[in-house]
Subunit: 254 residues, 6 copies
């Protein structure tokens, strides 16, 4: 069984690997969240898992089951909580989920943990969950945790190639060119190119209003157009990101 997926390994295979190889363990963090009419609700977990598997395969690592539910979607980065299908956690739940996972991996003997996030809204709650677990483990525990958003590993060169008219910034890249392209690379059967909406980029003021104003968000849930997405771009971005994450893991955890 050459799998990198922990859920597909027996406990004895996993244990032997931990003891023998001191491998990096990847915890993909996703969401169940609207991604427009052309991408599935599970996009964030699917992409985080796929990128993690790709990076893990380069460093002989292991990928734990993804956190499939994430923090509440916000209008400016995920469209907002008014969309049907978006299924989110309270902060305390996500923090606790991350803390418990880190605590358990530490018990297993994992020393290199990579918390690989694919849902922007998760970021700070993952930080807190990791921090609470490390506090519990005490100052002398050998576990070290790398935490990252996978898209931050794209180079400017790649972004320039993918966005010949200029990169509009990650803020509006929800269900847009990057995610659609990488989904076309990893899960082409889950993408409905024919349903990509045409709405121009959303335009937000420099503040939020709670409760959210649905009028701020395109009805499709897409914050800027996914036109221009293709599988080849996805392959390039995914490959670069996985490779550069693998490089970082090797360098940091040497």
């Amino acid at each position: 069984m050459g799998t990198v997926m922990m859920e597909q390994m027996s406990w004895s295979v996993y244990r032997d690997k931990i003891i023998r190889d001191n491998p990096a363990l990847f915890l993909p963090c996703g969401a169940l969240e609207q991604h427009g009419p052309h991408l599935p609700l599970g996009t964030d977990a699917l992409l985080a898992s796929a990128v993690a598997a790709s990076a893990a395969s380069r460093v002989d690592g292991i990928v734990a089951p993804a956190l499939s539910y994430g923090y509440k979607s916000q209008p400016k980065c995920g469209g907002g909580q008014h969309f049907c299908g978006t299924t989110s956690l309270d902060a305390h739940t996500l923090i606790s989920q991350a803390r418990d996972a880190v605590r358990e991996f530490a018990r297993h003997g994992v020393k290199k943990l990579v918390v690989l996030n694919g849902h922007y809204e998760n970021q700070w709650f993952l930080i807190e969950g990791i921090d609470l677990a490390l506090r519990e483990l005490g100052p002398n525990h050998p576990l070290r945790v790398m935490r990252l958003e996978y898209w931050d590993f794209m180079t400017e060169a790649t972004l320039a190639a993918v966005f010949p008219a200029g990169f509009p910034g990650f803020a509006l890249e929800h269900a847009a060119v990057i995610e659609t392209s990488i989904m076309l690379h990893y899960h082409p059967d889950l993408v409905r190119l024919d349903l990509i909406p045409d709405n121009g980029p959303a335009d937000f003021p420099p503040y939020e209003i709670h409760p959210l104003n649905p009028a701020w968000v395109p009805a499709s849930g897409v914050l800027s157009s996914a036109r221009g997405a293709d599988a080849e771009k996805g392959r390039q971005m995914a490959g670069e990101v996985a490779q550069r994450i693998a490089d970082a893991v090797r360098a940091e955890f040497a």
Copy 2:
């Protein structure tokens, strides 16, 4: 896209289905837990998801992403928390996860929710999570929740057929004949028949000791032998369970 898996649907497909069909939504609840040397760590989530998909396909339902992490493994039903690879949640985390999911499905307009559990230790925390969500929703909310352990839908006739020497009870059926057979049916490539251990059934006193005594539990993690498992038994059990769950869903939510 004829999938029943929510994570593979776009939000608009999901929404249309909720509005048009008032479908039953299945939430599979699993664990990441040792299942002997012959079954993968993800067995409980894999089986709960597979059974849910099978039942959902019979009632035109939808299957949400599984809760992949479950409550702490206990010696008498899952081997205990001392196994490497078993990755568990605190009670409060699992309760909160269930509560948040129910709250969100209710917001979507789901009226028929089936919380389908595949990890014995999860049971009471799922009950509490559902109860907290229903309290929040108030006494007049239309959501109704069916909660079940899937193995309780096997008939005595089937158990008699599967266990010609007499059914030893669900208590020891951890990584044993039932789970191994159903895995052989749904995920034959994840079963290592050649590694099934030979240890006889575990014998527990009528109490627990905390911290656990690892000597109580076979070193393999298997509580009674999986010898006798085969894919055909798995097919029969899985089919019966899925059909009877589907029948119950139709009858209760008519």
Copy 3:
């Protein structure tokens, strides 16, 4: 003062006993829950306390005040939360109560703790409370905790004698023959034999529905008839249970 009841001891008597004898400390866990028209609301706490006192007297142990309130009553084992008089705790409250008690007993120097449960619904929350306390105490603390449901100490021989027509299983034994008999033994003045209802055993499907359907549960709150209960049966069952718990305590904590 030859009492085994901690609440009746002065702190200095208790402290001397802890230091001198290293005694087993019993924590009875009950509930305030309907038990039909013939048994009092406090049945579970009364029985857990009485059994604990009987076992404690055999091993020179001490009995702490019972947890008088328990987890929410479920239809299949306690009738459900719709009964007036049933007064229950949220999971988090009961978990915290158990955790705090264990933490404090450990501070006293108790090394042998017996958490003796008399309310089925409490089980998993007591497990979590104990686990959280032990985590806090750290891996090298000398405290060991035995946790049990007292009825699990009845032998098959006794059950066969008490139920000549066959034991229907503990599941329906709520306010039925076992509890009524043991109450007739310990607290005959609190039993109204003349009010025992006649309803046949409840019949439940292999799932739950939330919010509960009161029609599933006999209006009396009794899940199978208490006809056939008598004090002599109670004496035999209580005696056997107390003796066998005492034996287990001696053996485990030797």
Copy 4:
């Protein structure tokens, strides 16, 4: 069964009484806490329950099972947490216990609840528990809650009679004349007059130090001498308190 004790009533008797009489329900709140070498650890719960029963019998009320465990003992009012035998709850646990109880009594239809406290340290956590429950019940719920420390119902005349040399204040009345006298009235068999220590009153500075300094507290745990306690004083104080609480209940809940 003329009992006022809820735990001794069947659910149907309780329900009938609630519906028919709209009675006041008393919740006694105690502790398991050192009370010197002459009083038992359960003094606070025993006294709160006894006073509650006495008051309840005067207004045809009902007494729920006492909260037997209370908030952490403080040096200036209960001696402190360093005493063996003192078994206390975290604030959050006690708050949750009170909140859950109030929520459940409200569900029963109770409209007159008396939270009768016998452990000084509980006060503010009971306030919070009640407040959280009332917030949950909403602004229009008919439940009203009276909360009190029973000793505040002694008149100055009685205090003058009990303390001919002048009342030193409730602050130091831990395991001293008042509690010892009332225990002699209600539970004479649990008092060891021969073991009353002689230490003069404790003298505390106008601040606290954490962690506590055990040297501040008499080794006996008694904050001022119980010399002068007798059953007759106990009878007078208990009778006055019960009567005046009953009067207040009648007046407030008319």
Copy 5:
């Protein structure tokens, strides 16, 4: 920068002081709570901060930013939660705030912490917060915490001078002579002497009712008259309190 206010120091100045001087750090705890028509909502935080600064300046201490929000106002000591402007915290929030602050000061190397409370209702939640932090720090940590209500440092002589007609007790001293006088000393521009209400002292029964009865509390929010307040009395009281707190700090933390 000779300031004692931590918020006005750079981190390096603060660090050097901690390392070099092992100073006492004061944490003032206030509230945002009605204080009649003549005192500002921030009175408790303003006074706690001012007293802390005055005491700190005498012992070369440091004053951390005040907790500006406190526990819920109660009718008998703060008027109650029905006043507009009173802005309060749940118990758990205040407990957590205190716990986190103590944990952080301990990390800085602070060994002498003075939690100086100016809002009566905060008391028990500060105790719990300190206790939880100390539990986390473990039994051998060098941090010691003094906790106090500042008014407890007034001598009887001073109270006799301030209240020539007899001191009515701190219970009714909400927005009355003491607080008004000390505000006139520290913040005369925030006092509206012309708006002091005339209502006589509030008269409370020996119990509470929840939800509160607003009729119990003077409409002004003042529990006894502030007539008689003047800046000179404030100067004397403030000076005495600050000096005696400084003395206690020196003596205890020598």
Copy 6:
């Protein structure tokens, strides 16, 4: 009393204003966090309060007391938790603090709330606190909440003027040109220009490591140089931000 500061208003002045004017209420959110050797620990709370007061004065609003403690400092935006003096809250504490404040302001009748954040790390926990409060208030409550980081209101023109060599991005603007300039405008006496460190901008990889690696962060705590800061730049930035926030408040809450 023409103040906009709520803590300086009497409750009756505040109440009258709320009823009469339906004003915007500003809640400044800061931190106690290292800001290099030249800025005080309280910088974030001081700036948030000052900006809030300036904006409030333009819309006849009110400013509540700042949250003086914030979420844990992160290396890439605040230097990290290893600095002495940085005094931070757990996520749950900050969330609860924000939730409680919003709940209370809603009780007062506030309909326009502006949560004005001055500490980057607070952002997501404020979002959660607001969300939890709004959930409690229910879907029909008239309260609306604007949430913002004040620096997001600077125009590109202003940034271009302040950073003639190009704006390096907000990420490194910790204790750098923007904060130093605005402090020079509002609190010149708290700035030590002579102590501005010279270290070049910090350079971070596209991931985090936990526990943090202090070597990533300049020893001064300053992430990019504050050279170039002056009071005039501060005046321009502060004025623009306050004016544009005021404009947004007027427009959104019209």
